[in-house]
């Protein structure tokens, strides 16, 4: 019991009229402008037979089903096969198709980290993100702080994520301002020789494909 809440809620409450407010239901919070617009557009598209309710639901399900495991699968394969790595960097759409993965309608440029170059992804104007490979972006990626600081003081941002890079490493920040999306291809950690592709994929986190961290076990740069 905290000092400002010094009573018991036993089976025989001395004051049965003493109530705590219930958790608010969803409907108790007013809808924002954009929530209303989203509902309205969805209803209109269905009403005008442009899409069906089932197609809308299926698309939402698909978007929700994408996790960073898709990106990790491509990274692990690139780590295991230099030819695939070259093709992934050159044309991620075609490389994805090779392994039966549709990476979607928007071009995704894969930026390879090397001992001398570290890549970092940001969208300063809004929150563009390689959703077809990494799923829904984390909240911090969409925050004004990250968008402002990743572009202008990337070394401080990286340090706050626990990523300390040598001064000699070139940091390249990719601002996703228009029609391209980006994913970082991290360096394969040392001490992972002989690991299977599946095991390697387990080392590849969302954050290292955004570029704020490097995979665990990596000797770093």
């Amino acid at each position: 019991m905290s000092s400002d809440h010094n009573h018991d809620h036993g089976m025989y409450d001395a004051d049965p009229l003493h109530h705590h407010p219930p958790q608010p239901d969803l409907e108790d919070t007013p809808l924002t402008h954009h929530q209303i617009m989203q509902i309205a557009v969805g209803e209109l598209l269905i009403e005008k037979d442009i899409i069906t309710a089932d197609e809308l639901r299926a698309q939402i399900d698909f978007q929700d089903s994408i996790t960073p495991a898709r990106g990790a699968q491509l990274v692990a394969r690139a780590w295991s096969d230099d030819g695939f790595k070259a093709r992934l960097v050159a044309d991620s759409k075609a490389a994805g198709a090779e392994v039966g993965m549709d990476i979607g309608p928007v071009p995704i440029l894969v930026m390879e980290n090397t001992p001398s170059v570290h890549n970092l992804i940001v969208c300063t104007l809004c929150s563009c993100y390689p959703r077809f490979l990494l799923g829904i972006p984390p909240d911090w990626y969409k925050s004004r702080s990250y968008r402002r600081r990743a572009i202008s003081e990337p070394r401080s941002v990286l340090a706050e994520f626990g990523t300390d890079l040598s001064d000699s490493v070139e940091i390249k920040v990719h601002d996703s301002t228009a029609d391209m999306r980006y994913m970082v291809l991290p360096m394969r950690p040392t001490g992972t020789e002989g690991m299977s592709e599946e095991a390697l994929a387990g080392l590849v986190t969302r954050d290292c494909m955004v570029g704020v961290t490097v995979p665990e076990g990596s000797g770093g740069a």
Binding site: I151, R155, E170, I171, D175, S176, A178
Partner: protein
Amino acid sequence: MSTRYEVGDTVRVRQAYPAGHCRTPYYCRGKSGVVVRYCGDYRNPEYLAYGTYDGPEEPLYRIQFKQTALWPNYSGGPQDKVEVEIYEHWLVPENS
């Protein structure tokens, strides 16, 4: 569509402040950079944003800037870079 710039060209982003939607960040306007990639032709978002979906396509480039050219107090070294997608009509040759 033929492109006006090639990879390796030095270009400058127009220092312009038109009203309405555009995809050119303020921090690189008026700054010089180098073309590092031609991304293909895409419709101009300045028209798309207002419902013109059949406007002409325009070359889109990736322009690389030195961080030290963008931010006066940049804390890292001169090797650090920013790369931004810029549509052709926002670019002028460096010497113009």
